[in-house]
Protein backbone atom coordinates (compact mmCIF):
# COMPACT_ATOMS: atom_id res chain seq x y z
CA UNK A 1 0.00 0.00 0.00
CA UNK A 2 1.18 3.49 -0.81
CA UNK A 3 2.25 5.95 1.86
CA UNK A 4 -0.55 8.35 0.99
CA UNK A 5 -3.40 7.46 -1.32
CA UNK A 6 -6.79 8.57 -2.49
CA UNK A 7 -9.47 6.34 -3.96
CA UNK A 8 -12.52 7.63 -5.79
CA UNK A 9 -12.47 11.06 -4.15
CA UNK A 10 -15.57 13.10 -4.82
CA UNK A 11 -16.14 16.60 -3.47
CA UNK A 12 -18.61 19.28 -4.51
CA UNK A 13 -19.21 22.87 -3.49
CA UNK A 14 -22.99 23.12 -3.50
CA UNK A 15 -23.98 21.78 -6.89
CA UNK A 16 -20.57 22.41 -8.44
CA UNK A 17 -18.41 19.28 -8.54
CA UNK A 18 -14.70 19.91 -7.82
CA UNK A 19 -13.49 16.30 -7.64
CA UNK A 20 -15.18 13.56 -9.66
CA UNK A 21 -13.46 10.40 -8.48
CA UNK A 22 -9.73 11.05 -8.10
CA UNK A 23 -7.31 8.17 -7.55
CA UNK A 24 -3.76 8.96 -6.52
CA UNK A 25 -0.80 7.23 -4.86
CA UNK A 26 2.23 8.89 -3.32
CA UNK A 27 5.20 6.92 -2.00
CA UNK A 28 7.28 7.83 1.04
CA UNK A 29 9.91 10.48 0.32
CA UNK A 30 8.47 11.30 -3.10
CA UNK A 31 7.98 14.85 -4.32
CA UNK A 32 4.84 14.79 -6.45
CA UNK A 33 3.55 17.77 -8.39
CA UNK A 34 -0.21 17.99 -8.94
CA UNK A 35 -0.86 20.17 -11.97
CA UNK A 36 -3.75 21.30 -14.09
CA UNK A 37 -5.61 24.42 -15.20
CA UNK A 38 -7.48 26.73 -12.83
CA UNK A 39 -10.61 25.11 -11.45
CA UNK A 40 -9.48 21.53 -12.17
CA UNK A 41 -9.78 20.62 -8.48
CA UNK A 42 -6.12 20.53 -7.46
CA UNK A 43 -6.47 22.71 -4.34
CA UNK A 44 -9.57 20.77 -3.26
CA UNK A 45 -7.61 17.54 -3.70
CA UNK A 46 -4.76 18.92 -1.55
CA UNK A 47 -7.21 20.00 1.17
CA UNK A 48 -8.81 16.52 1.19
CA UNK A 49 -5.41 14.78 1.33
CA UNK A 50 -4.25 17.02 4.18
CA UNK A 51 -7.43 16.37 6.18
CA UNK A 52 -8.53 20.01 5.98
CA UNK A 53 -11.63 19.11 3.95
CA UNK A 54 -13.67 15.94 4.12
CA UNK A 55 -14.54 14.34 0.78
CA UNK A 56 -18.22 13.63 0.00
CA UNK A 57 -17.23 10.14 -1.11
CA UNK A 58 -14.06 8.08 -1.48
CA UNK A 59 -11.19 7.35 0.86
CA UNK A 60 -7.92 8.95 1.90
CA UNK A 61 -5.40 6.64 3.54
CA UNK A 62 -2.15 7.69 5.17
CA UNK A 63 0.34 4.99 6.22
CA UNK A 64 -2.36 2.37 5.93
CA UNK A 65 -4.95 4.23 8.01
CA UNK A 66 -8.07 5.97 6.74
CA UNK A 67 -7.98 9.63 7.70
CA UNK A 68 -11.09 11.00 5.97
CA UNK A 69 -13.30 9.34 8.59
CA UNK A 70 -11.40 10.80 11.58
CA UNK A 71 -13.01 13.45 13.74
CA UNK A 72 -12.15 17.11 13.22
CA UNK A 73 -10.01 17.01 16.40
CA UNK A 74 -8.09 13.92 15.28
CA UNK A 75 -7.45 15.43 11.84
CA UNK A 76 -6.27 18.68 13.45
CA UNK A 77 -3.87 16.67 15.63
CA UNK A 78 -2.56 14.92 12.51
CA UNK A 79 -1.95 18.28 10.85
CA UNK A 80 -0.03 19.50 13.90
CA UNK A 81 2.17 16.44 14.25
CA UNK A 82 2.53 14.59 10.95
CA UNK A 83 1.64 17.10 8.24
CA UNK A 84 2.95 20.51 7.26
CA UNK A 85 1.03 22.93 5.07
CA UNK A 86 2.40 25.77 2.98
CA UNK A 87 0.17 28.20 1.10
CA UNK A 88 0.82 30.95 -1.41
CA UNK A 89 1.15 33.82 1.07
CA UNK A 90 -0.26 35.47 4.17
CA UNK A 91 0.54 32.73 6.63
CA UNK A 92 2.88 34.56 8.97
CA UNK A 93 1.45 36.36 11.97
CA UNK A 94 2.17 40.05 11.33
CA UNK A 95 2.71 40.94 15.00
CA UNK A 96 5.31 38.22 15.62
CA UNK A 97 8.96 38.20 14.58
CA UNK A 98 10.25 35.63 12.09
CA UNK A 99 11.69 33.49 14.91
CA UNK A 100 8.44 33.69 16.90
CA UNK A 101 6.45 32.72 13.80
CA UNK A 102 8.64 29.69 13.15
CA UNK A 103 8.58 28.66 16.82
CA UNK A 104 4.78 28.88 16.99
CA UNK A 105 3.90 25.31 15.90
CA UNK A 106 6.38 23.94 18.45
CA UNK A 107 4.94 26.10 21.24
CA UNK A 108 1.43 24.94 20.33
CA UNK A 109 2.66 21.35 20.56
CA UNK A 110 3.98 21.99 24.07
CA UNK A 111 7.71 22.48 23.43
CA UNK A 112 9.46 24.81 25.89
CA UNK A 113 10.04 28.41 24.85
CA UNK A 114 13.85 28.25 24.78
CA UNK A 115 13.98 24.96 22.90
CA UNK A 116 11.41 26.22 20.38
CA UNK A 117 13.44 29.38 19.74
CA UNK A 118 16.65 27.38 19.25
CA UNK A 119 14.91 25.13 16.72
CA UNK A 120 13.35 28.14 14.97
CA UNK A 121 16.74 29.87 14.64
CA UNK A 122 18.27 26.70 13.25
CA UNK A 123 15.54 26.39 10.58
CA UNK A 124 15.77 30.07 9.66
CA UNK A 125 19.49 29.53 9.20
CA UNK A 126 18.93 26.51 6.96
CA UNK A 127 16.68 28.65 4.80
CA UNK A 128 19.22 31.45 4.60
CA UNK A 129 17.12 34.01 6.54
CA UNK A 130 18.76 33.84 9.98
CA UNK A 131 19.54 37.57 9.74
CA UNK A 132 15.81 38.32 9.83
CA UNK A 133 15.04 36.30 12.98
CA UNK A 134 13.99 39.37 14.97
CA UNK A 135 12.24 41.22 12.13
CA UNK A 136 8.50 41.21 11.62
CA UNK A 137 7.03 39.99 8.30
CA UNK A 138 6.30 43.56 7.19
CA UNK A 139 10.02 44.31 7.30
CA UNK A 140 10.92 41.44 4.94
CA UNK A 141 10.56 40.87 1.18
CA UNK A 142 7.99 38.40 -0.16
CA UNK A 143 10.69 35.81 -0.82
CA UNK A 144 12.14 36.17 2.71
CA UNK A 145 8.66 35.85 4.22
CA UNK A 146 7.97 32.73 2.20
CA UNK A 147 11.29 31.20 3.31
CA UNK A 148 10.16 31.82 6.91
CA UNK A 149 6.87 30.13 6.05
CA UNK A 150 8.85 27.11 4.73
CA UNK A 151 10.84 27.08 7.99
CA UNK A 152 7.59 27.16 9.96
CA UNK A 153 6.11 24.33 7.88
CA UNK A 154 9.23 22.18 8.42
CA UNK A 155 10.06 23.03 12.04
CA UNK A 156 7.88 20.20 13.35
CA UNK A 157 9.68 17.84 10.94
CA UNK A 158 6.44 16.67 9.31
CA UNK A 159 6.33 13.40 7.41
CA UNK A 160 4.25 14.97 4.63
CA UNK A 161 4.37 18.56 3.43
CA UNK A 162 1.42 19.88 1.43
CA UNK A 163 2.16 22.96 -0.68
CA UNK A 164 -0.45 24.97 -2.58
CA UNK A 165 1.18 27.28 -5.16
CA UNK A 166 4.00 28.04 -2.68
CA UNK A 167 5.73 30.50 -5.02
CA UNK A 168 2.65 31.87 -6.77
CA UNK A 169 3.10 35.34 -5.29
CA UNK A 170 6.87 35.61 -5.91
CA UNK A 171 9.01 36.74 -8.84
CA UNK A 172 10.89 33.97 -10.60
CA UNK A 173 14.26 34.32 -8.85
CA UNK A 174 12.73 34.58 -5.36
CA UNK A 175 10.45 31.64 -6.22
CA UNK A 176 13.42 29.62 -7.38
CA UNK A 177 15.25 30.22 -4.10
CA UNK A 178 12.22 29.16 -2.05
CA UNK A 179 11.73 26.00 -4.13
CA UNK A 180 15.44 25.19 -4.12
CA UNK A 181 15.53 25.31 -0.30
CA UNK A 182 12.24 23.49 0.07
CA UNK A 183 13.19 20.58 -2.19
CA UNK A 184 16.71 20.24 -0.77
CA UNK A 185 15.48 20.17 2.84
CA UNK A 186 12.59 17.81 2.01
CA UNK A 187 15.05 15.37 0.44
CA UNK A 188 17.43 15.64 3.41
CA UNK A 189 14.55 14.89 5.83
CA UNK A 190 12.92 12.32 3.51
CA UNK A 191 9.76 14.38 3.75
CA UNK A 192 7.05 13.41 1.29
CA UNK A 193 5.85 16.47 -0.62
CA UNK A 194 2.60 17.08 -2.49
CA UNK A 195 3.06 20.24 -4.51
CA UNK A 196 0.04 21.81 -6.19
CA UNK A 197 0.86 24.22 -9.00
CA UNK A 198 -0.36 25.42 -12.38
CA UNK A 199 3.23 26.37 -13.32
CA UNK A 200 5.20 23.78 -15.31
CA UNK A 201 8.50 25.23 -14.10
CA UNK A 202 7.47 24.69 -10.47
CA UNK A 203 6.16 21.19 -11.25
CA UNK A 204 9.59 20.31 -12.68
CA UNK A 205 11.03 20.37 -9.15
CA UNK A 206 9.00 17.22 -8.43
CA UNK A 207 9.95 13.62 -9.14
CA UNK A 208 6.79 13.18 -11.17
CA UNK A 209 3.62 14.94 -12.15
CA UNK A 210 -0.03 14.04 -11.70
CA UNK A 211 -2.25 15.96 -14.08
CA UNK A 212 -5.80 16.82 -13.06
CA UNK A 213 -8.47 17.69 -15.54
CA UNK A 214 -12.09 18.53 -14.69
CA UNK A 215 -11.82 16.95 -11.26
CA UNK A 216 -10.18 13.67 -12.25
CA UNK A 217 -6.63 12.42 -12.85
CA UNK A 218 -5.57 12.56 -16.49
CA UNK A 219 -2.70 10.08 -16.92
CA UNK A 220 -2.57 10.28 -20.73
CA UNK A 221 -2.63 14.07 -20.87
CA UNK A 222 -5.34 13.81 -23.53
CA UNK A 223 -8.12 15.18 -21.31
CA UNK A 224 -10.51 13.05 -19.30
CA UNK A 225 -13.39 10.96 -20.55
CA UNK A 226 -15.70 13.67 -19.26
CA UNK A 227 -13.83 16.26 -21.27
CA UNK A 228 -13.96 14.14 -24.39
CA UNK A 229 -17.68 13.48 -24.31
Amino acid sequence: MSYLSARGLVRSYGRTPALRGVNLDVEEGEIVAVTGPSGCGKSTLLHCLAGILRPDAGEVTYRGRRIDTLSEGARAALRRTEFGVLFQFGQLVAELTAAENVALPLLLAGTGRREARTAALSWLDRLGVADFADQRPGEMSGGQQQRCAVARALVTEPRVLFCDEPTGALDSLAGEQVLGHLVRLAREQRTTVVLVTHDVQVAAYGDREIMLRDGAADPTGLGTVAAQQ
Binding site: P37, E176, G180, V183, R184, V200, Q201, A203, A204, Y205, G206, E209, T220, G221, L222, G223, A227, Q228, Q229
Partner: protein, 179 residues
Protein backbone atom coordinates in the same frame (compact mmCIF):
# COMPACT_ATOMS: atom_id res chain seq x y z
CA UNK B 1 24.08 29.56 -33.11
CA UNK B 2 26.97 31.22 -34.92
CA UNK B 3 30.06 29.04 -34.37
CA UNK B 4 32.43 31.53 -36.10
CA UNK B 5 31.44 34.28 -33.69
CA UNK B 6 31.61 32.02 -30.65
CA UNK B 7 35.16 31.04 -31.68
CA UNK B 8 36.06 34.73 -32.11
CA UNK B 9 34.73 35.32 -28.62
CA UNK B 10 36.83 32.49 -27.20
CA UNK B 11 39.96 34.12 -28.70
CA UNK B 12 39.39 37.45 -26.95
CA UNK B 13 41.59 36.56 -23.96
CA UNK B 14 44.52 35.38 -26.10
CA UNK B 15 45.66 32.99 -28.86
CA UNK B 16 44.46 29.38 -28.81
CA UNK B 17 44.89 26.18 -30.83
CA UNK B 18 41.99 24.42 -32.51
CA UNK B 19 41.99 21.82 -29.74
CA UNK B 20 41.86 24.45 -27.00
CA UNK B 21 39.02 26.19 -28.82
CA UNK B 22 36.98 23.00 -29.01
CA UNK B 23 37.47 22.37 -25.30
CA UNK B 24 36.69 25.97 -24.35
CA UNK B 25 33.57 25.90 -26.55
CA UNK B 26 32.19 22.75 -24.94
CA UNK B 27 33.05 24.02 -21.45
CA UNK B 28 31.54 27.49 -21.81
CA UNK B 29 28.41 26.29 -23.60
CA UNK B 30 27.83 23.01 -21.77
CA UNK B 31 24.23 22.59 -22.92
CA UNK B 32 24.94 23.35 -26.59
CA UNK B 33 25.76 20.59 -29.05
CA UNK B 34 29.52 19.86 -28.76
CA UNK B 35 31.42 21.30 -31.72
CA UNK B 36 33.34 18.78 -33.88
CA UNK B 37 37.12 19.21 -34.39
CA UNK B 38 36.54 19.26 -38.15
CA UNK B 39 34.12 22.13 -37.77
CA UNK B 40 36.58 24.09 -35.62
CA UNK B 41 39.38 23.78 -38.19
CA UNK B 42 37.08 24.51 -41.16
CA UNK B 43 35.72 27.58 -39.36
CA UNK B 44 39.23 28.79 -38.45
CA UNK B 45 40.16 28.46 -42.15
CA UNK B 46 37.29 30.71 -43.16
CA UNK B 47 38.08 33.21 -40.38
CA UNK B 48 41.71 33.40 -41.63
CA UNK B 49 40.49 33.84 -45.23
CA UNK B 50 38.22 36.71 -44.11
CA UNK B 51 41.01 38.36 -42.14
CA UNK B 52 39.27 37.99 -38.77
CA UNK B 53 41.98 35.80 -37.22
CA UNK B 54 45.65 35.17 -38.07
CA UNK B 55 48.01 32.30 -37.24
CA UNK B 56 50.05 33.24 -34.19
CA UNK B 57 52.78 30.63 -34.05
CA UNK B 58 53.40 26.93 -33.75
CA UNK B 59 53.54 24.83 -30.65
CA UNK B 60 55.60 21.64 -30.68
CA UNK B 61 55.29 20.76 -27.01
CA UNK B 62 52.72 18.02 -27.21
CA UNK B 63 53.13 15.86 -30.30
CA UNK B 64 52.47 17.25 -33.74
CA UNK B 65 52.78 20.91 -34.70
CA UNK B 66 49.80 22.90 -33.61
CA UNK B 67 48.99 26.32 -34.98
CA UNK B 68 47.52 28.81 -32.59
CA UNK B 69 45.31 31.65 -33.79
CA UNK B 70 44.65 35.17 -32.59
CA UNK B 71 42.05 37.83 -33.26
CA UNK B 72 42.73 40.68 -35.66
CA UNK B 73 41.28 44.19 -35.24
CA UNK B 74 38.77 43.24 -37.94
CA UNK B 75 37.90 40.16 -35.94
CA UNK B 76 37.27 42.22 -32.79
CA UNK B 77 35.08 44.59 -34.77
CA UNK B 78 33.07 41.71 -36.33
CA UNK B 79 32.57 40.18 -32.88
CA UNK B 80 31.37 43.47 -31.40
CA UNK B 81 28.88 43.93 -34.27
CA UNK B 82 27.56 40.38 -33.88
CA UNK B 83 26.98 40.82 -30.14
CA UNK B 84 25.19 44.13 -30.71
CA UNK B 85 22.91 42.81 -33.51
CA UNK B 86 19.42 41.93 -32.27
CA UNK B 87 18.25 38.51 -33.45
CA UNK B 88 14.94 38.08 -35.23
CA UNK B 89 12.44 37.16 -32.49
CA UNK B 90 11.54 33.83 -34.05
CA UNK B 91 11.06 30.59 -32.11
CA UNK B 92 13.19 28.20 -34.14
CA UNK B 93 12.49 24.95 -32.36
CA UNK B 94 8.73 25.25 -32.03
CA UNK B 95 8.27 25.53 -35.75
CA UNK B 96 8.80 21.75 -36.06
CA UNK B 97 6.17 21.14 -33.37
CA UNK B 98 3.82 23.53 -35.12
CA UNK B 99 4.38 21.93 -38.53
CA UNK B 100 3.53 18.46 -37.19
CA UNK B 101 0.27 19.59 -35.62
CA UNK B 102 -0.78 21.63 -38.64
CA UNK B 103 0.00 18.73 -40.98
CA UNK B 104 -1.86 16.21 -38.75
CA UNK B 105 -4.91 18.49 -38.79
CA UNK B 106 -4.56 19.02 -42.54
CA UNK B 107 -4.86 15.30 -43.12
CA UNK B 108 -7.87 15.34 -40.82
CA UNK B 109 -6.36 13.12 -38.14
CA UNK B 110 -7.42 14.85 -34.93
CA UNK B 111 -6.56 11.81 -32.82
CA UNK B 112 -3.03 11.63 -34.17
CA UNK B 113 -2.57 15.33 -33.49
CA UNK B 114 -3.74 14.86 -29.89
CA UNK B 115 -1.59 11.81 -29.30
CA UNK B 116 1.43 13.61 -30.73
CA UNK B 117 0.76 16.68 -28.58
CA UNK B 118 0.39 14.62 -25.39
CA UNK B 119 3.56 12.62 -26.14
CA UNK B 120 5.49 15.79 -26.98
CA UNK B 121 4.20 17.41 -23.78
CA UNK B 122 5.47 14.44 -21.76
CA UNK B 123 8.90 14.61 -23.47
CA UNK B 124 9.13 18.35 -22.84
CA UNK B 125 8.15 17.86 -19.19
CA UNK B 126 10.86 15.22 -18.72
CA UNK B 127 13.48 17.51 -20.24
CA UNK B 128 12.26 20.40 -18.08
CA UNK B 129 12.75 18.23 -14.98
CA UNK B 130 16.28 17.28 -16.12
CA UNK B 131 17.26 20.92 -16.67
CA UNK B 132 15.77 21.87 -13.29
CA UNK B 133 18.00 19.16 -11.79
CA UNK B 134 21.03 20.67 -13.55
CA UNK B 135 20.17 24.12 -12.22
CA UNK B 136 19.61 23.04 -8.63
CA UNK B 137 22.74 20.88 -8.43
CA UNK B 138 24.90 22.51 -5.72
CA UNK B 139 27.95 22.06 -8.00
CA UNK B 140 26.36 23.87 -10.96
CA UNK B 141 28.48 26.72 -12.35
CA UNK B 142 26.97 30.04 -13.35
CA UNK B 143 27.17 29.06 -17.03
CA UNK B 144 25.36 25.76 -16.24
CA UNK B 145 22.60 27.71 -14.48
CA UNK B 146 22.09 30.34 -17.16
CA UNK B 147 22.21 27.73 -19.94
CA UNK B 148 19.62 25.65 -18.04
CA UNK B 149 17.49 28.79 -17.50
CA UNK B 150 17.57 29.45 -21.22
CA UNK B 151 16.41 25.93 -22.02
CA UNK B 152 13.76 26.01 -19.27
CA UNK B 153 12.27 29.29 -20.48
CA UNK B 154 11.96 27.95 -24.04
CA UNK B 155 10.51 24.62 -22.90
CA UNK B 156 8.04 26.53 -20.72
CA UNK B 157 6.87 28.57 -23.73
CA UNK B 158 6.51 25.40 -25.82
CA UNK B 159 4.64 23.66 -23.01
CA UNK B 160 2.12 26.50 -22.72
CA UNK B 161 1.53 26.29 -26.45
CA UNK B 162 1.29 22.48 -26.36
CA UNK B 163 -1.30 22.58 -23.57
CA UNK B 164 -3.38 25.31 -25.19
CA UNK B 165 -3.26 23.45 -28.49
CA UNK B 166 -4.30 20.22 -26.76
CA UNK B 167 -7.31 22.06 -25.32
CA UNK B 168 -8.20 23.59 -28.68
CA UNK B 169 -7.82 20.27 -30.51
CA UNK B 170 -9.89 18.54 -27.79
CA UNK B 171 -12.67 21.06 -28.50
CA UNK B 172 -12.38 20.28 -32.20
CA UNK B 173 -12.44 16.55 -31.42
CA UNK B 174 -15.63 17.00 -29.35
CA UNK B 175 -17.21 18.95 -32.17
CA UNK B 176 -16.35 16.27 -34.73
CA UNK B 177 -17.43 13.29 -32.61
CA UNK B 178 -20.73 14.75 -31.41
CA UNK B 179 -21.84 16.06 -34.77
Amino acid sequence: MSTPHVLLGLLVDGPKHGYDLKRAHDLKLPRAKPVAFGQVYATLGRLVRDGLVVPAGQDRDAGPDRTSYELTEEGRKALKEWIAAVEAPMPHLSSVLLAKVVVALLVGDVNQAREYLAAQRAAHTTRLRELTGVKTDPDASLSDVIAADFGIAHLDADLRWLQTTLDRVADLHREVTTR
